[in-house]
């Protein structure tokens, strides 16, 4: 599962996304947000039957923590101990989470959601490394005239998201290294929610009082700190049914199966855990503005003009990808997992920096534009924030509209003929018209779908002479 989800985020092969896209769609929170009743019911049923198996085999963040914990376990055996459940913390987090989810305050919910946290880690931290590897292979291939790998552009889509991913990874790594599944059992709202059902699960790990020799090996190997061997009790709200205890028990005193008699968990202790997820207030602008080349006195052959980087224009309404229906729909459904960002082959999507839509995808066209044949973000989105659309349907979605900025337009500023925006508009929304003796673009906003081809291909730099404003709700034709 971990491997599959990672492959999805790395974008190893589009076919993998097509075949195994479901692993993102069976994640609990995405399923809830996309109103995927079937998946939600199945997951609840799974929990009712087997306990929190979800946390052990489906949730990639859980498995990732197990990896850290396992690493530590190789050096230090029997390092866990029982700690009572911190109910107040769990319920407060869950309560706040649900309330915020309902009223649509996403920054906090996206931070806490386990699947999204994992997605961000892979997309921000591992994908660049993977891309470097692929670029290396592509480079090697190029000298052999082979064409399997296309090179990826590696760039910082958002510093804040990057920092969030690093902090998340470090915090989880430290927690998992020291205490195993602390996050899952004290913070994770999905874990807490599932634990309501896990308490009553059909199959459970339970003690055989007759066989138990009170050696404590089970407790020392429970990464969920859920076993209290002295009282021969297991906290089912936290047990993730990993089975480590069953393996460790030399006396066959632990069984996974139907419970002979029910048991309840006792009172809390231990100090509260510092999540360390707050320190991320970092300025955004990383754009390196380049200088235009000075024309040499004698015209010589060769050379490449320096291309000044484009600057993201200030859009009154952010543009959300076709299929997302509206900014509101996006805000309510997206868990900011970054799967669409990593799937976007045109470098259009990037995580938002604004507070209310923190880390949710938005479009901008400095490195490419939303190509008409591409619907990849809509195919991968597990939460219904971007609904599935076909390329044909996409032609009818007006995600935004182009705005002409006369002051930047080259025919007027430099006196050259241009028309690159009109030439590349896929819907023919731009026509070149005579004005003051030169041809300038005129936009039919009715036809404009907000794909950004004009903005991206406009030669004016760093600010394009034509840019796209988002539609609050996408217009359909």
């Amino acid at each position: 599962m971990l491997v599959l989800v990672t492959l999805l985020f790395l974008g190893v092969c589009w076919r993998i996304n097509l075949w195994f896209g479901f692993v993102a769609k069976i994640q609990f929170l995405p399923a809830v947000l996309s109103f995927n009743v079937i998946v939600v019911l199945l997951l609840l049923l799974l929990t009712l039957l087997f306990g929190r198996l979800y946390c052990s085999v489906i949730c990639p963040l859980g498995i990732m923590q197990d990896c850290f914990s396992w690493l530590h376990g190789r050096f230090k055996k029997n390092r866990f101990s029982y700690s009572p459940e911190k109910k107040w913390l769990r319920y407060i987090v869950l309560g706040v989470f649900v309330v915020l989810l309902i009223i649509g305050v996403t920054p906090v919910t996206t931070l806490l959601a386990p699947y999204s946290a994992y997605g961000r880690i892979v997309n921000s931290l591992f994908k660049p490394l993977y891309d470097m590897l692929i670029n290396g292979l592509a480079h090697y291939e190029a000298s052999h005239d082979l064409y399997h790998f296309s090179e990826a552009e590696i760039w910082m889509r958002s510093v804040t998201t990057f920092v969030v991913a690093i902090v998340t990874l470090l915090a989880l790594a430290v927690l998992a290294w020291r205490h195993g599944r602390t996050y899952c059992n004290t913070i994770c709202p999905v874990g807490t929610f599932l634990s309501f059902f896990a308490r009553f699960s059909f199959l459970k790990v339970h003690f055989d009082a007759d066989k138990c020799k009170q050696c404590g090996l089970c407790e020392k190997n429970c990464k969920a700190s859920a076993i209290d061997f002295k009282n021969m009790k297991v906290d089912y709200s936290r047990c993730v049914v990993c089975g480590d205890c069953l393996e460790k028990c030399s006396f066959d005193a632990l069984h996974y199966g139907r419970m002979p008699k029910p048991a309840v968990a006792p009172e809390p202790k231990e100090e509260p855990v510092d999540e360390g997820r707050r320190s991320f207030l970092i300025g955004a602008g990383l754009m390196t503005a380049a200088v235009a080349t000075a024309q040499p006195k004698i015209k010589v052959d060769g050379g490449l003009a320096v291309i000044e980087d484009k600057v993201v224009p200030e859009r009154k309404t952010p543009i959300t990808p076709p299929g997302s229906i509206s900014a509101q729909n996006m805000r309510h459904h997206c868990t900011a997992c970054q799967l669409c960002v990593s799937a976007c082959p045109n470098n259009v999507l990037r995580p938002s920096k604004s507070l209310m839509t923190f880390m949710q995808p938005e479009m901008s066209f400095e490195r490419g534009y939303c190509r008409p044949e591409c619907t990849r973000c809509s195919q991968v989105c597990p939460t219904g924030a971007i609904r599935r659309i076909t390329p044909e349907e996409k032609t009818e979605v007006h995600a935004g509209y182009a705005v002409w900025l006369k002051d930047n337009c080259l025919p007027l500023t430099d006196g050259v003929s241009c028309g690159n925006c009109a030439r590349h508009c896929p819907t023919g929304a731009i026509q070149m018209v005579d004005s003051e003796g030169v041809k300038v673009p005129s936009i039919d906003t009715q036809k404009c779908i907000g794909c950004g081809a004009c903005e991206h291909l406009c030669p004016a730099r760093p600010f394009s002479a034509i840019y796209v404003e988002g539609n609050v709700m996408h217009h359909l034709q």
Partner: protein, 464 residues
């Protein structure tokens, strides 16, 4: 140590010893020793004006190697690899090459200095220097700037005379001006041509000529002046190869067949210096089916050799310029002309057939001279054309309207190769059609039109 191991060590030592021996020997690496074994000596042609004995192979200093590898086209910011230039020039001179052709515009203006450094290590009477009064930017069209350009060439080349001085690339047009108008503005109105004639009288220029591309009126007019005794041309540099012999005007109506140019010069006894014998390497890098036909005749002859033999065969040719970046190319060309094996009538027939086939490929006739560069909007024009032509040669320009069995693979090769060879921001889609490049192209390619054609094709491929 058992016996087997001992033998292994012995073998290793032997290899090491032979490697050492191999390393010690040459000061200039000589990868072509075997190729040159049993070769005769370089073919020379005599300049009727001065009696210069000029090697048939001339060294074009336009595509010099750079430190980052390849030429400045691949690595525009990399400095020239002077060590390699020195080695190659030493080797060339040793093998009898004595004509070196540079320009103030070549290698982003750095060619002359590099040429000067390399050649000044040899006695001045061992080689002939050719450079040009270049003309690309109207800023250099004033009398003062032109005189400075010539003086600067002497300085860079560390000499006090130039053996062959050319008016650079006459016949070029702009969207507004025809060839004669550009020529007059550049060389006549400022009196610079007369100044050059004066310099020739002073002995600072030994031969005065011009290189020609484009508008044939200018070529004809200048030859008429020659006939009338108004100006005397000691030599003329023209583009000549087996493709342009008959096809130049078909490839582009603004150009003229090499046959006409050569015959006109030969008639007057003006020696021809040949440029673009390989069309910027295009005639060395041919599609497989053409290479196969060539190798069926002569399995060991590289395609480039056919082109060089063709260019060197006409008797009125003084020298054939080759912009040799790599030592291996230099060796190959030295072999080709040591001595020249002239093209027979039957072989000529064969090459004319090959030319028809190449013509039918409809390559974009770019020779990657890079005169169009830098494009103010950042495009990498020659690389875009090179990629397109490569795909044409290799059959990777599929038709999206009629997909064949290999369509998917060809499409992938075209698109991935495109992104690999040209960064996205330098691709054809960014051409705004400002037409600044058009007047700089010696091949008279309508660059913006071709860019838009390639862009539309890429768009079609992407959408299919």
């Amino acid at each position: 140590m058992d016996r087997r191991e001992f033998i292994k060590h012995l073998g290793g030592a032997a290899v090491a010893a032979s490697l050492l021996a191999a390393c010690r020997k040459p000061e200039t690496p000589d990868p072509g020793v075997t190729a040159l074994d049993g070769q005769g000596s370089m073919t020379y042609r005599t300049n009727p004006n001065t009696g210069d004995r000029v090697s048939l192979l001339g060294y074009g200093m336009m595509r010099l190697p750079v430190e980052a590898g390849g030429t400045m086209r691949e690595h525009p910011d990399s400095p020239i690899n002077q060590e390699l230039v020195n080695q190659q020039i030493d080797f060339a001179i040793e093998r009898g090459v004595n004509y070196f052709d540079t320009s103030p515009a070549y290698c982003q203006g750095k060619s002359e200095r590099s040429t000067g450094i390399a050649l000044s290590r040899h006695p001045r009477d061992k080689y002939y220097l050719a450079t040009k009064l270049s003309n690309f930017s109207p800023a250099s069209w004033t009398r003062q700037a032109s005189m400075e350009m010539f003086e600067n060439s002497l300085k860079e080349l560390k000499t006090n005379y130039v053996d062959y001085l050319l008016l650079h690339s006459i016949g070029m047009t702009t969207d507004e001006l025809d060839g004669m108008e550009v020529f007059n503005k550049r060389y006549m109105d400022n009196g610079i041509l007369d100044w050059l004639v004066e310099q020739k009288k002073k002995g600072r220029i030994r031969n005065l000529g011009f290189s020609y591309h484009g508008d044939v009126t200018v070529f004809d007019t200048l030859l008429r002046w020659h006939d009338e005794g108004r100006y005397h041309w000691d030599f003329v540099q023209i583009e000549l190869n087996y493709l342009d012999w008959h096809h130049a005007d078909e490839i582009n109506t603004r150009n003229t067949d090499a046959e006409y140019l050569y015959v006109e010069l030969n008639k007057r006894g003006i020696p021809s210096v040949i440029m673009e014998p390989l069309l910027g390497g295009r005639l060395a890098d041919l599609p497989d089916f053409i290479v196969k036909r060539m190798q069926e005749r002569e399995p060991e002859t590289p395609p480039a050799r056919w082109a060089f033999r063709f260019a060197g065969t006409p008797k009125g040719v003084l020298t054939v310029l080759s912009g040799m970046t790599y030592m291996e190319h230099l060796v190959q060309n030295v072999v080709t002309y040591s001595p020249l094996r002239p093209i027979t009538e039957e072989e000529n027939e064969f090459l004319m057939q090959v030319a028809d086939e190449i013509y039918n490929l409809k390559h974009i006739p770019c020779t990657t001279c890079c005169y169009c560069m830098p494009c103010p909007y950042g495009l990498d024009i020659p690389t875009i054309f090179a990629h397109y032509n490569k795909c044409v040669s290799e059959g990777n320009v599929p038709n999206p309207d009629h997909p064949t069995a290999t369509y998917k693979k060809a499409r992938r090769t075209f698109l991935i190769g495109y992104d690999r060879s040209v960064p996205k921001l330098r691709q054809a889609s960014h051409c705004i059609g400002c037409r600044q490049c058009v007047s700089h192209c010696p091949q008279s390619i309508d660059i913006p039109a071709e860019m838009q054609r390639i862009d539309e094709y890429v768009e079609q491929l992407k959408r299919s």
